[in-house]
Symmetry: C2
Subunit: 211 residues, 2 copies
Amino acid sequence: MVKYPQGVSPFVSGLKQPQWSKAAPASTAKHRHRRGVNFSDRGMTLEQQLNESNKYYLSQGLAVVHKKPTPVQIVKVDYPKRSRAVIREAYFRQASTTDYNGVYQGYYLDFEAKETRNKSSFPLKNFHPHQISHLQACLDQNGICFTVLKFVTLDRYFIVPASVIIAAWQDPDHSSISLETIVSKSIELECGYRPPLPYLTAVDRLIKDRK
Amino acid sequence: MVKYPQGVSPFVSGLKQPQWSKAAPASTAKHRHRRGVNFSDRGMTLEQQLNESNKYYLSQGLAVVHKKPTPVQIVKVDYPKRSRAVIREAYFRQASTTDYNGVYQGYYLDFEAKETRNKSSFPLKNFHPHQISHLQACLDQNGICFTVLKFVTLDRYFIVPASVIIAAWQDPDHSSISLETIVSKSIELECGYRPPLPYLTAVDRLIKDRK
């Protein structure tokens, strides 16, 4: 077995996140321990659940949705002879869009995945201003835009329409959205097996509500 | 002035491409010389023309289209104290999708940008099998899918519908698409100023043709 610096294999995408990343670090001892006893999501992070779901949807010809690669500013590249290029200096950049987008039955889907360990509300500081303006711009183009929100401690999943997030973001009196608001204005998802997170059923409802 | 290895600033994205990249290297002496006398595209690569056009379309509220970040396999990251994380070892990965996607008036757009220095045909080896299957999957979901094709030497630009590319790709007798076929089955674009490449006019025609 290869020993990686930081004790974590960087091949497992999403485990090491830059500071500004919104995904909760998945490698704390506490989290690991808890995951060991929680079988409902089969130990997957939200990102893994979504990636598996997207793979399933793609294989079934149901939708084409991909996570965008982590944007990286490449500064130095070595081109060793007889082997492939090695990036020797690069930095994480802040993304200017959301993490996921794709197409489903002619509809443009655009969403962000967010986790919180809070139990009663979702802190809006998890969003960056550029993500909010990106969601608004996609809404203006008639895209289906939302956030897949996971309350890790409660093991509950919600599809929160982008309009709900944007409205809360614009309200100067609010720094978070309460769980009650989320329950009343979102679509709750039940975890499954294939796909792990059947979010297209919620998308169907968003499309229906829009009509 | 900072001297970079390879003599090319890696800050200028797209100049140094990994082996499997489909973009023609923009840094050959011949190309540079020619660009010095060709003012029609104001010295921009196709990628720059598209990125500028996307910026313009976004600023005008006309469409939300972004280039996806270059996918990179991160192997080693340093976390120096009091400064941001530095990627110390990473490799270019092959993308599993096309380079650009987004939303325009509710339509999902998905496209690849390709340049060729050929004068009479476009070699299909510029496509990777996964790009073809991605375009087919997006077409199956009713996306608007195409290739923005630039004949560098001719200074001509075409929006080639994905269906034309896929049909040629599936024909075992063909290794390229002739310029005549492209002229007859594509929409030619005229370079502009703002945006440099007004591809949405061609998208309007693709949408109209589909109806």
